[in-house]
Symmetry: C2
Subunit: 219 residues, 2 copies
Protein backbone atom coordinates (compact mmCIF):
# COMPACT_ATOMS: atom_id res chain seq x y z
CA UNK A 1 0.00 0.00 0.00
CA UNK A 2 2.84 2.41 0.63
CA UNK A 3 4.05 2.79 -2.88
CA UNK A 4 2.37 3.96 -6.05
CA UNK A 5 -1.14 2.78 -5.35
CA UNK A 6 -2.25 6.32 -4.65
CA UNK A 7 -1.16 8.16 -7.79
CA UNK A 8 -0.35 11.30 -5.82
CA UNK A 9 3.20 12.31 -5.06
CA UNK A 10 4.55 9.34 -3.19
CA UNK A 11 6.06 9.14 0.22
CA UNK A 12 5.59 12.62 1.59
CA UNK A 13 5.24 11.04 5.00
CA UNK A 14 6.77 7.65 5.79
CA UNK A 15 10.26 8.61 6.88
CA UNK A 16 12.78 6.40 5.12
CA UNK A 17 15.52 4.50 6.78
CA UNK A 18 18.99 5.94 6.44
CA UNK A 19 19.95 3.27 3.94
CA UNK A 20 16.87 3.88 1.81
CA UNK A 21 17.46 7.62 1.86
CA UNK A 22 21.01 7.10 0.73
CA UNK A 23 19.90 4.85 -2.12
CA UNK A 24 17.28 7.34 -3.18
CA UNK A 25 19.85 10.12 -3.18
CA UNK A 26 22.34 8.07 -5.19
CA UNK A 27 19.66 7.37 -7.78
CA UNK A 28 18.78 11.05 -7.95
CA UNK A 29 22.42 12.06 -8.38
CA UNK A 30 22.97 9.43 -11.05
CA UNK A 31 19.82 10.53 -12.86
CA UNK A 32 20.98 14.13 -12.79
CA UNK A 33 24.22 13.19 -14.49
CA UNK A 34 22.63 10.84 -17.01
CA UNK A 35 19.83 13.23 -17.94
CA UNK A 36 22.23 16.14 -18.28
CA UNK A 37 24.45 14.08 -20.51
CA UNK A 38 21.86 12.50 -22.77
CA UNK A 39 18.57 14.29 -22.28
CA UNK A 40 15.28 12.77 -21.18
CA UNK A 41 14.78 10.63 -24.27
CA UNK A 42 18.43 9.66 -24.56
CA UNK A 43 18.92 8.70 -20.91
CA UNK A 44 18.64 5.02 -20.05
CA UNK A 45 16.95 3.85 -16.89
CA UNK A 46 19.30 0.86 -16.62
CA UNK A 47 22.26 3.17 -16.92
CA UNK A 48 20.94 5.41 -14.15
CA UNK A 49 20.43 2.44 -11.87
CA UNK A 50 23.90 1.13 -12.67
CA UNK A 51 25.54 4.52 -12.06
CA UNK A 52 23.74 4.70 -8.74
CA UNK A 53 25.00 1.28 -7.72
CA UNK A 54 21.36 0.31 -7.42
CA UNK A 55 18.93 -1.30 -9.81
CA UNK A 56 15.69 -0.62 -11.56
CA UNK A 57 13.47 -2.14 -8.90
CA UNK A 58 14.64 0.46 -6.41
CA UNK A 59 14.45 3.24 -8.95
CA UNK A 60 10.82 2.43 -9.65
CA UNK A 61 10.08 1.94 -5.96
CA UNK A 62 11.33 5.43 -5.20
CA UNK A 63 10.21 7.36 -8.26
CA UNK A 64 7.58 5.34 -10.07
CA UNK A 65 8.49 6.32 -13.62
CA UNK A 66 11.29 7.73 -15.72
CA UNK A 67 9.38 10.96 -16.24
CA UNK A 68 8.68 11.38 -12.54
CA UNK A 69 12.40 11.00 -11.95
CA UNK A 70 13.02 13.68 -14.55
CA UNK A 71 10.67 16.04 -12.76
CA UNK A 72 12.44 15.37 -9.48
CA UNK A 73 15.81 16.09 -11.10
CA UNK A 74 14.45 19.28 -12.62
CA UNK A 75 13.08 20.48 -9.30
CA UNK A 76 16.31 19.64 -7.55
CA UNK A 77 18.35 21.53 -10.14
CA UNK A 78 16.21 24.65 -9.78
CA UNK A 79 16.14 24.43 -6.02
CA UNK A 80 19.93 24.11 -5.91
CA UNK A 81 20.39 27.22 -8.02
CA UNK A 82 17.91 29.22 -5.99
CA UNK A 83 19.63 28.13 -2.80
CA UNK A 84 23.01 29.37 -4.04
CA UNK A 85 21.41 32.58 -5.24
CA UNK A 86 20.05 33.18 -1.81
CA UNK A 87 23.59 33.20 -0.46
CA UNK A 88 24.65 36.06 -2.74
CA UNK A 89 24.73 39.15 -0.57
CA UNK A 90 24.88 42.49 -2.35
CA UNK A 91 22.88 44.88 -0.17
CA UNK A 92 26.02 46.32 1.42
CA UNK A 93 27.87 46.92 -1.84
CA UNK A 94 27.86 50.10 -3.94
CA UNK A 95 25.47 49.63 -6.90
CA UNK A 96 28.09 49.08 -9.59
CA UNK A 97 29.97 46.50 -7.55
CA UNK A 98 26.72 44.84 -6.56
CA UNK A 99 25.66 44.58 -10.18
CA UNK A 100 29.03 43.14 -11.19
CA UNK A 101 28.71 40.54 -8.46
CA UNK A 102 25.27 39.49 -9.64
CA UNK A 103 26.46 39.17 -13.23
CA UNK A 104 29.57 37.25 -12.24
CA UNK A 105 27.56 34.94 -10.01
CA UNK A 106 25.46 33.73 -12.91
CA UNK A 107 28.39 33.10 -15.18
CA UNK A 108 30.30 31.29 -12.46
CA UNK A 109 27.29 29.25 -11.48
CA UNK A 110 26.70 27.87 -14.94
CA UNK A 111 30.45 27.37 -15.39
CA UNK A 112 30.45 25.29 -12.21
CA UNK A 113 27.22 23.48 -13.12
CA UNK A 114 26.97 23.10 -16.88
CA UNK A 115 24.56 20.24 -16.30
CA UNK A 116 22.04 22.84 -15.17
CA UNK A 117 22.09 24.26 -18.68
CA UNK A 118 21.56 20.87 -20.25
CA UNK A 119 18.57 20.16 -18.01
CA UNK A 120 17.13 23.60 -18.71
CA UNK A 121 17.37 23.19 -22.46
CA UNK A 122 15.84 19.76 -22.40
CA UNK A 123 12.95 21.10 -20.41
CA UNK A 124 12.45 23.84 -22.97
CA UNK A 125 12.46 21.23 -25.70
CA UNK A 126 9.50 19.75 -23.84
CA UNK A 127 7.89 23.16 -23.76
CA UNK A 128 8.32 23.26 -19.98
CA UNK A 129 5.64 20.63 -19.63
CA UNK A 130 7.19 19.12 -16.52
CA UNK A 131 8.07 22.46 -14.99
CA UNK A 132 4.48 23.57 -15.47
CA UNK A 133 3.32 20.64 -13.37
CA UNK A 134 5.66 21.55 -10.55
CA UNK A 135 4.07 23.97 -8.12
CA UNK A 136 7.25 23.63 -6.10
CA UNK A 137 9.46 25.23 -8.74
CA UNK A 138 7.01 27.90 -9.76
CA UNK A 139 6.85 29.01 -6.13
CA UNK A 140 10.65 29.31 -6.14
CA UNK A 141 10.87 32.87 -7.31
CA UNK A 142 14.40 33.94 -8.04
CA UNK A 143 16.10 35.78 -5.18
CA UNK A 144 18.54 37.05 -7.79
CA UNK A 145 15.82 38.92 -9.62
CA UNK A 146 14.83 40.59 -6.39
CA UNK A 147 18.41 41.59 -5.64
CA UNK A 148 18.72 42.95 -9.14
CA UNK A 149 15.59 45.04 -8.73
CA UNK A 150 16.94 46.52 -5.49
CA UNK A 151 20.40 47.23 -6.88
CA UNK A 152 18.92 48.83 -9.96
CA UNK A 153 16.73 51.10 -7.84
CA UNK A 154 19.65 52.10 -5.65
CA UNK A 155 21.86 52.88 -8.62
CA UNK A 156 19.13 54.85 -10.29
CA UNK A 157 18.47 56.84 -7.13
CA UNK A 158 22.05 58.07 -6.96
CA UNK A 159 22.17 58.63 -10.73
CA UNK A 160 24.93 56.09 -11.24
CA UNK A 161 22.63 54.01 -13.45
CA UNK A 162 20.42 55.22 -16.27
CA UNK A 163 16.72 55.51 -15.50
CA UNK A 164 13.92 53.39 -16.89
CA UNK A 165 15.65 50.03 -17.07
CA UNK A 166 13.27 47.10 -17.00
CA UNK A 167 14.60 44.70 -14.33
CA UNK A 168 13.16 41.61 -15.97
CA UNK A 169 14.71 42.46 -19.34
CA UNK A 170 18.03 43.08 -17.65
CA UNK A 171 17.71 39.82 -15.71
CA UNK A 172 17.08 37.92 -18.93
CA UNK A 173 20.03 39.70 -20.55
CA UNK A 174 22.28 38.83 -17.66
CA UNK A 175 21.34 35.18 -17.99
CA UNK A 176 21.69 35.24 -21.76
CA UNK A 177 25.16 36.77 -21.61
CA UNK A 178 26.22 34.07 -19.18
CA UNK A 179 24.43 31.05 -20.54
CA UNK A 180 25.05 31.25 -24.26
CA UNK A 181 28.80 31.11 -23.99
CA UNK A 182 28.68 27.91 -21.95
CA UNK A 183 25.55 26.30 -23.33
CA UNK A 184 27.03 26.43 -26.79
CA UNK A 185 30.61 25.90 -25.78
CA UNK A 186 31.00 22.82 -27.97
CA UNK A 187 29.69 24.28 -31.19
CA UNK A 188 31.46 27.58 -30.49
CA UNK A 189 34.80 25.96 -29.85
CA UNK A 190 34.39 23.76 -32.92
CA UNK A 191 33.77 26.83 -35.05
CA UNK A 192 36.28 29.19 -33.44
CA UNK A 193 38.80 26.50 -32.65
CA UNK A 194 39.35 27.66 -29.07
CA UNK A 195 38.05 26.05 -25.89
CA UNK A 196 35.35 27.97 -24.05
CA UNK A 197 35.44 26.29 -20.68
CA UNK A 198 38.98 26.96 -19.58
CA UNK A 199 39.43 29.29 -16.62
CA UNK A 200 41.07 31.84 -18.92
CA UNK A 201 38.13 31.84 -21.33
CA UNK A 202 35.64 32.13 -18.49
CA UNK A 203 37.55 34.97 -16.86
CA UNK A 204 37.69 36.84 -20.18
CA UNK A 205 34.00 36.28 -20.64
CA UNK A 206 33.31 37.47 -17.12
CA UNK A 207 35.19 40.72 -17.68
CA UNK A 208 33.36 41.28 -20.94
CA UNK A 209 29.83 40.71 -19.71
CA UNK A 210 30.40 42.89 -16.64
CA UNK A 211 31.65 45.62 -18.98
CA UNK A 212 28.58 45.17 -21.17
CA UNK A 213 26.11 45.43 -18.32
CA UNK A 214 27.82 48.31 -16.54
CA UNK A 215 28.52 50.05 -19.83
CA UNK A 216 24.87 49.84 -20.72
CA UNK A 217 23.75 51.05 -17.30
CA UNK A 218 25.80 54.27 -17.45
CA UNK A 219 23.35 57.20 -17.51
Amino acid sequence: MREKLPPQRERAAAALSARATATRQRILDAAFVEFAEKGLAGARVDEIAARAGANKRMLYAHFGAKEALWLEVLETAYAAKRAEERAVEVADLPPAEAMAKLVAFNLRYVARHPEFLAILHQENLHRAAYLASSARVRALYSPLLESLRAVLARGEAVAIFRAGVDPVQLYVSMLGLSHFHLANRHTLSTIFGTAMDTEAAIAAREAHIIAVVLGYLRP
Copy 2:
Protein backbone atom coordinates in the same frame (compact mmCIF):
# COMPACT_ATOMS: atom_id res chain seq x y z
CA MET B 1 26.50 -0.39 -56.00
CA ARG B 2 25.06 3.08 -56.06
CA GLU B 3 24.10 3.38 -52.43
CA LYS B 4 26.01 2.95 -49.21
CA LEU B 5 28.52 0.37 -50.36
CA PRO B 6 31.26 2.97 -50.43
CA PRO B 7 31.12 4.46 -46.93
CA GLN B 8 31.92 7.94 -48.22
CA ARG B 9 29.33 10.63 -48.50
CA GLU B 10 26.77 9.15 -50.82
CA ARG B 11 25.52 10.39 -54.16
CA ALA B 12 27.76 13.36 -54.79
CA ALA B 13 27.48 12.58 -58.46
CA ALA B 14 24.53 10.61 -59.84
CA ALA B 15 22.06 13.41 -60.43
CA LEU B 16 18.68 12.42 -59.04
CA SER B 17 15.46 12.54 -60.93
CA ALA B 18 13.10 15.35 -60.06
CA ARG B 19 10.82 12.98 -58.16
CA ALA B 20 13.69 11.54 -56.14
CA THR B 21 14.98 15.01 -55.33
CA ALA B 22 11.55 16.03 -54.14
CA THR B 23 11.25 12.98 -51.92
CA ARG B 24 14.69 13.57 -50.51
CA GLN B 25 13.79 17.17 -49.76
CA ARG B 26 10.50 16.19 -48.10
CA ILE B 27 12.34 13.73 -45.88
CA LEU B 28 14.90 16.39 -44.97
CA ASP B 29 12.19 18.92 -44.13
CA ALA B 30 10.28 16.40 -42.07
CA ALA B 31 13.45 15.40 -40.24
CA PHE B 32 14.19 19.03 -39.45
CA VAL B 33 10.80 19.44 -37.81
CA GLU B 34 10.89 16.13 -35.98
CA PHE B 35 14.46 16.58 -34.71
CA ALA B 36 13.77 20.14 -33.60
CA GLU B 37 10.69 19.00 -31.74
CA LYS B 38 12.07 15.91 -30.03
CA GLY B 39 15.83 15.94 -30.32
CA LEU B 40 18.00 13.29 -31.91
CA ALA B 41 17.22 10.56 -29.39
CA GLY B 42 13.54 11.46 -29.11
CA ALA B 43 12.88 11.67 -32.83
CA ARG B 44 11.39 8.61 -34.50
CA VAL B 45 12.46 7.45 -37.92
CA ASP B 46 8.99 6.12 -38.69
CA GLU B 47 7.52 9.47 -37.75
CA ILE B 48 9.91 11.32 -40.04
CA ALA B 49 9.03 9.05 -42.93
CA ALA B 50 5.32 9.47 -42.23
CA ARG B 51 5.59 13.27 -42.00
CA ALA B 52 7.45 13.26 -45.29
CA GLY B 53 4.74 11.23 -46.95
CA ALA B 54 7.45 8.71 -47.68
CA ASN B 55 8.63 5.62 -45.87
CA LYS B 56 11.66 4.23 -44.16
CA ARG B 57 13.04 2.45 -47.20
CA MET B 58 13.45 5.76 -49.01
CA LEU B 59 14.81 7.45 -45.92
CA TYR B 60 17.52 4.85 -45.61
CA ALA B 61 18.15 4.85 -49.34
CA HIS B 62 18.81 8.58 -49.28
CA PHE B 63 20.56 8.99 -45.95
CA GLY B 64 21.73 5.62 -44.74
CA ALA B 65 21.23 6.13 -41.03
CA LYS B 66 19.35 8.24 -38.53
CA GLU B 67 22.55 9.92 -37.42
CA ALA B 68 23.58 10.73 -40.98
CA LEU B 69 20.20 12.36 -41.44
CA TRP B 70 20.82 14.37 -38.29
CA LEU B 71 24.12 15.60 -39.67
CA GLU B 72 22.43 16.58 -42.91
CA VAL B 73 19.77 18.51 -41.00
CA LEU B 74 22.42 20.22 -38.91
CA GLU B 75 24.38 21.27 -41.96
CA THR B 76 21.26 22.51 -43.67
CA ALA B 77 20.28 24.56 -40.62
CA TYR B 78 23.66 26.23 -40.42
CA ALA B 79 23.81 26.82 -44.14
CA ALA B 80 20.36 28.42 -44.10
CA LYS B 81 21.36 30.82 -41.35
CA ARG B 82 24.63 31.74 -43.02
CA ALA B 83 22.77 32.34 -46.28
CA GLU B 84 20.35 34.76 -44.63
CA GLU B 85 23.24 36.45 -42.85
CA ARG B 86 24.92 37.02 -46.17
CA ALA B 87 21.92 39.05 -47.26
CA VAL B 88 22.27 41.50 -44.37
CA GLU B 89 23.85 44.59 -45.82
CA VAL B 90 25.24 47.13 -43.35
CA ALA B 91 28.28 48.63 -45.08
CA ASP B 92 26.34 51.73 -46.14
CA LEU B 93 24.82 52.45 -42.74
CA PRO B 94 26.27 54.67 -40.02
CA PRO B 95 27.96 52.50 -37.36
CA ALA B 96 25.23 52.72 -34.72
CA GLU B 97 22.48 51.89 -37.14
CA ALA B 98 24.53 49.11 -38.65
CA MET B 99 25.12 47.60 -35.23
CA ALA B 100 21.44 47.81 -34.37
CA LYS B 101 20.60 46.05 -37.59
CA LEU B 102 23.02 43.22 -36.87
CA VAL B 103 21.61 42.77 -33.37
CA ALA B 104 18.03 42.87 -34.58
CA PHE B 105 18.77 40.42 -37.35
CA ASN B 106 19.84 37.75 -34.91
CA LEU B 107 16.85 38.17 -32.67
CA ARG B 108 14.45 38.14 -35.59
CA TYR B 109 16.14 35.17 -37.17
CA VAL B 110 15.77 32.96 -34.11
CA ALA B 111 12.25 34.27 -33.58
CA ARG B 112 11.42 33.18 -37.12
CA HIS B 113 13.30 29.90 -36.79
CA PRO B 114 13.11 28.66 -33.21
CA GLU B 115 13.86 25.16 -34.53
CA PHE B 116 17.36 26.38 -35.23
CA LEU B 117 17.84 26.86 -31.50
CA ALA B 118 16.57 23.39 -30.72
CA ILE B 119 18.95 21.82 -33.23
CA LEU B 120 21.84 23.88 -31.90
CA HIS B 121 21.22 22.85 -28.30
CA GLN B 122 20.88 19.21 -29.19
CA GLU B 123 24.16 19.37 -31.00
CA ASN B 124 25.79 20.89 -27.94
CA LEU B 125 24.35 18.09 -25.85
CA HIS B 126 26.30 15.79 -28.15
CA ARG B 127 29.39 17.93 -27.60
CA ALA B 128 29.26 19.02 -31.23
CA ALA B 129 30.33 15.55 -32.29
CA TYR B 130 28.42 15.70 -35.56
CA LEU B 131 29.39 19.29 -36.29
CA ALA B 132 33.01 18.37 -35.76
CA SER B 133 32.71 15.78 -38.50
CA SER B 134 31.28 18.30 -40.91
CA ALA B 135 33.98 20.08 -42.86
CA ARG B 136 31.17 21.78 -44.73
CA VAL B 137 29.88 23.66 -41.69
CA ARG B 138 33.28 24.50 -40.27
CA ALA B 139 34.12 26.13 -43.57
CA LEU B 140 30.96 28.23 -43.29
CA TYR B 141 32.46 31.10 -41.36
CA SER B 142 29.86 33.59 -40.23
CA PRO B 143 29.45 36.59 -42.52
CA LEU B 144 27.80 38.28 -39.58
CA LEU B 145 30.97 38.15 -37.53
CA GLU B 146 32.84 39.77 -40.40
CA SER B 147 30.24 42.51 -40.70
CA LEU B 148 30.45 43.07 -36.99
CA ARG B 149 34.22 43.40 -37.11
CA ALA B 150 33.95 45.99 -39.86
CA VAL B 151 31.20 48.00 -38.18
CA LEU B 152 33.09 47.96 -34.92
CA ALA B 153 36.22 49.26 -36.62
CA ARG B 154 34.28 51.99 -38.38
CA GLY B 155 32.58 53.11 -35.18
CA GLU B 156 35.83 53.08 -33.28
CA ALA B 157 37.56 55.12 -35.99
CA VAL B 158 35.06 57.95 -35.70
CA ALA B 159 35.00 57.67 -31.88
CA ILE B 160 31.33 56.76 -31.80
CA PHE B 161 32.18 53.42 -30.20
CA ARG B 162 34.54 52.74 -27.34
CA ALA B 163 37.96 51.36 -28.22
CA GLY B 164 39.28 47.91 -27.47
CA VAL B 165 36.12 45.87 -27.91
CA ASP B 166 36.77 42.23 -28.76
CA PRO B 167 34.59 41.44 -31.79
CA VAL B 168 34.23 37.76 -30.93
CA GLN B 169 33.11 38.52 -27.38
CA LEU B 170 30.62 41.03 -28.70
CA TYR B 171 29.41 38.53 -31.29
CA VAL B 172 28.84 35.91 -28.60
CA SER B 173 27.05 38.51 -26.48
CA MET B 174 24.83 39.50 -29.36
CA LEU B 175 23.85 35.89 -29.87
CA GLY B 176 23.36 35.30 -26.16
CA LEU B 177 21.10 38.32 -25.78
CA SER B 178 19.00 37.08 -28.67
CA HIS B 179 19.00 33.36 -28.10
CA PHE B 180 18.35 33.04 -24.40
CA HIS B 181 15.02 34.81 -24.49
CA LEU B 182 13.68 32.47 -27.17
CA ALA B 183 15.55 29.28 -26.33
CA ASN B 184 14.13 29.39 -22.85
CA ARG B 185 10.80 30.89 -23.75
CA HIS B 186 8.85 28.01 -22.25
CA THR B 187 10.51 27.92 -18.86
CA LEU B 188 10.63 31.72 -18.74
CA SER B 189 6.97 32.13 -19.51
CA THR B 190 6.08 29.41 -17.03
CA ILE B 191 8.01 31.25 -14.33
CA PHE B 192 7.05 34.81 -15.25
CA GLY B 193 3.58 33.95 -16.44
CA THR B 194 3.89 35.95 -19.67
CA ALA B 195 4.42 34.65 -23.19
CA MET B 196 7.80 35.34 -24.73
CA ASP B 197 7.09 34.66 -28.37
CA THR B 198 4.40 37.21 -29.11
CA GLU B 199 5.32 40.02 -31.46
CA ALA B 200 5.00 42.49 -28.59
CA ALA B 201 7.41 40.53 -26.38
CA ILE B 202 9.89 40.16 -29.23
CA ALA B 203 9.70 43.86 -30.11
CA ALA B 204 10.31 44.79 -26.47
CA ARG B 205 13.23 42.42 -26.34
CA GLU B 206 14.61 43.86 -29.56
CA ALA B 207 14.51 47.40 -28.21
CA HIS B 208 16.19 46.29 -25.01
CA ILE B 209 19.07 44.34 -26.54
CA ILE B 210 19.81 47.11 -29.02
CA ALA B 211 19.92 49.52 -26.10
CA VAL B 212 22.25 47.20 -24.22
CA VAL B 213 24.69 46.80 -27.09
CA LEU B 214 24.70 50.46 -28.12
CA GLY B 215 24.76 51.56 -24.49
CA TYR B 216 27.80 49.43 -23.88
CA LEU B 217 29.55 50.64 -27.02
CA ARG B 218 29.35 54.32 -26.08
CA PRO B 219 32.90 55.60 -25.54
